[in-house]
Amino acid sequence: MATPVATVGAKRARKGVSADKAERRLATRMVAPSMILIAIVGAYPIGYAVWLSLHEYSVRTPGLSRFAEPYGLGNFEAALRSDTFWSAFVNTGVFTVISVTLELLLGLAMALAMHNAFKGRGLLRTVVLVPWAILTVVTAITWQTIFEPQLGFVNTMLNAVGIPGGDTVWLGQSPHAMGVMIFADVWKTAPFMALLILAGLQVISNEVYDAAKVDGATTWQRFMRITLPLLIPAILVALIFRTLDALRIFDLPFVLTKGAYGTNTLSLEAYEELRANRLIGLGSALSVLTFVIVMAVSFLYIRFVGGNIRSLTDEGKA
């Protein structure tokens, strides 16, 4: 190679400070458009939402508004006192914990199967992306159809086979509706988790397993002591994104039940107050609360997985 890196480094050293300055200026200019856009479409609406949440807007008289006493926190007080907020909070929490756990377990199982199967692996990798590729709205409609009380597949099959429960109104009762929602979400996302975990699995070298086998480790021990620990980074990253998505879930409950029968989530509750009840102040307060909760969870995660993000900002290995 004619131009060794050393020369370049030397050149750089000579140029020194001004080259650095030029680079920094370029960097700022390249980052600027994104930051400006994000400020406009992201920060400004959130700021406006906070502003809205500090006021009450008259539902009876258009255009009338007042500062929400006390100290602008009236809407937050109302939200935190309302049963519907807390039940939405609990519903969202329950949904998040259960669906993310199930997705993880199912995804892990699927990944292991895909990893160890050599026949049908190619087919599996394609098939597994199909649920992820289908629109969330379509997913919701499909599952709604399958669980329809009179004409749906599930009840018809149950009745045909003689298992009791064939007249259950799945989407019309309290625990069942949430069950269907979790099922639909797991269906859509477990395959995606499987892919992530599969990528993690494929990086683990065989030697480690061979060494363990020589030492007499059983399959289970190999799994628990080698596979799982090495998968944890991949799992954690998948976990944080899925958790944040689950906390914000809207599409699924909106189409399945409009939030009835115990499926009201934080986002849906905020939407209901904002759009159906036209309580802009309260609805904005609920949105801000949802935002704060999601941010809190993501901050918690970043403390654990923060290393991952820091590494992205190094200028890379030479």
């Binding site: 131009t3 980052v31 994104s34 992201g42 629109l135 969330t136 499909t142 990086v203 599409d251």
Partner: protein, 297 residues
């Protein structure tokens, strides 16, 4: 092995990953066969059911037959004659393509700067970018609705594209930063030595090399934009600007008396097919992109 290192090893795929090529000495364990088949059924059944229902009309819709007794393409015909649906497709295509193009353009600049150039407070910038992607849609929807109705962007396509960038940009930036970092520096350094400016090095050397990464980011952004629902129903109301998810959710059917189940299913199949094809074609890229940072689906 620290967390960061382990993660990096996930981030750097291709070179190190070996497919476990085991020579089959015996047949595959039956349990695995069952698992494979179970997974295939699990993943494909709902889509199959959708196709099944879309081929039924009239009384058949009230039955739950696994195979349509009188398969017919009537539902597809009526859907294609439905203006609302066709407009929805057109709007979705425009919004998704534009969002993707804009976010690739603007995002790639920012990603390069973050990945390669010296800059103060990079971590803060990245943190801001990422945190914006965690905003709940509802927190943005209502303020933007108010703003748009005052400015006149309500029920317009640009009115959708702009908020869509809130999640498209972070997604693009995050994926591209990982991809840019994988490109060996040598080529850029060579270009710099040859007298190119940093920006020229970016434009002429890095971008072509990062084409796979751009493609991946593009596909994932496109799918995310196509899928978006909350902003779509809040910021649009007529078929002149409604995208497909919103159109489907409020679809009242082409016939008066029947459940619009058949036509909705046909519409759903039609929408899903291009996405599925896209996913099949670019499967490897998508997986690489998803695992390059485990980005949200």
């Amino acid at each position: 092995m620290s967390t960061a290192d382990a993660t990096q090893s996930v981030v750097v795929p291709k070179a190190r990953v070996r497919e476990k090529a085991r020579k089959p000495r015996e047949g595959q364990h039956p349990a695995l066969w069952i698992a494979v088949i179970a997974i295939i059924i699990f993943c494909l059944f709902p889509f199959y059911w959708l196709v099944n229902v879309s081929l039924k009309t009239g009384a058949d819709l009230s039955g739950a037959d696994l195979v349509p007794p009188n398969p017919t393409l009537d539902n597809y015909e009526s859907i294609f004659r439905n203006d609302d649906f066709l407009n929805g497709l057109k709007n979705s295509a425009i919004v998704s393509l534009t969002t993707t193009a804009l976010s690739l353009l603007i995002g790639s600049f920012a990603a390069y700067a973050l990945a390669r150039l010296k800059m103060r407070r990079k971590f803060m910038v990245l943190a801001i970018v990422l945190s914006v992607s965690t905003f709940p849609g509802i927190a943005i929807a209502a303020p933007v609705f108010k703003l748009w109705t005052d400015i006149g962007l309500y029920n317009t396509l640009p009115g959708l594209i702009i908020p869509y960038l809130t999640f498209a940009l972070p997604l693009t930036i995050y994926i591209l930063v990982s991809f840019f970092k994988e490109i060996p520096r040598d080529l850029e350094e060579a270009a710099l030595v040859d007298g190119a400016t940093n920006f020229q090095a970016f434009r002429k050397v890095v971008v072509p090399l990062a084409a796979p990464g751009l493609a991946t980011a593009g596909i994932l952004t496109f799918i995310a934009a196509w899928n978006e629902f909350l902003l779509a129903i809040t910021l649009t109301s007529s078929s002149s600007a409604r995208t497909v998810p919103a159109a489907i959710a409020f679809f009242t059917g082409s016939t008066q008396f029947e459940l619009p189940l058949g036509t909705i299913s046909a519409a759903s199949v039609i929408i899903s097919v291009p996405l599925i094809l896209l996913v099949l074609l670019f499967q490897k890229r998508i997986v690489a992109g998803l695992t390059a940072g485990a980005v949200k689906g």
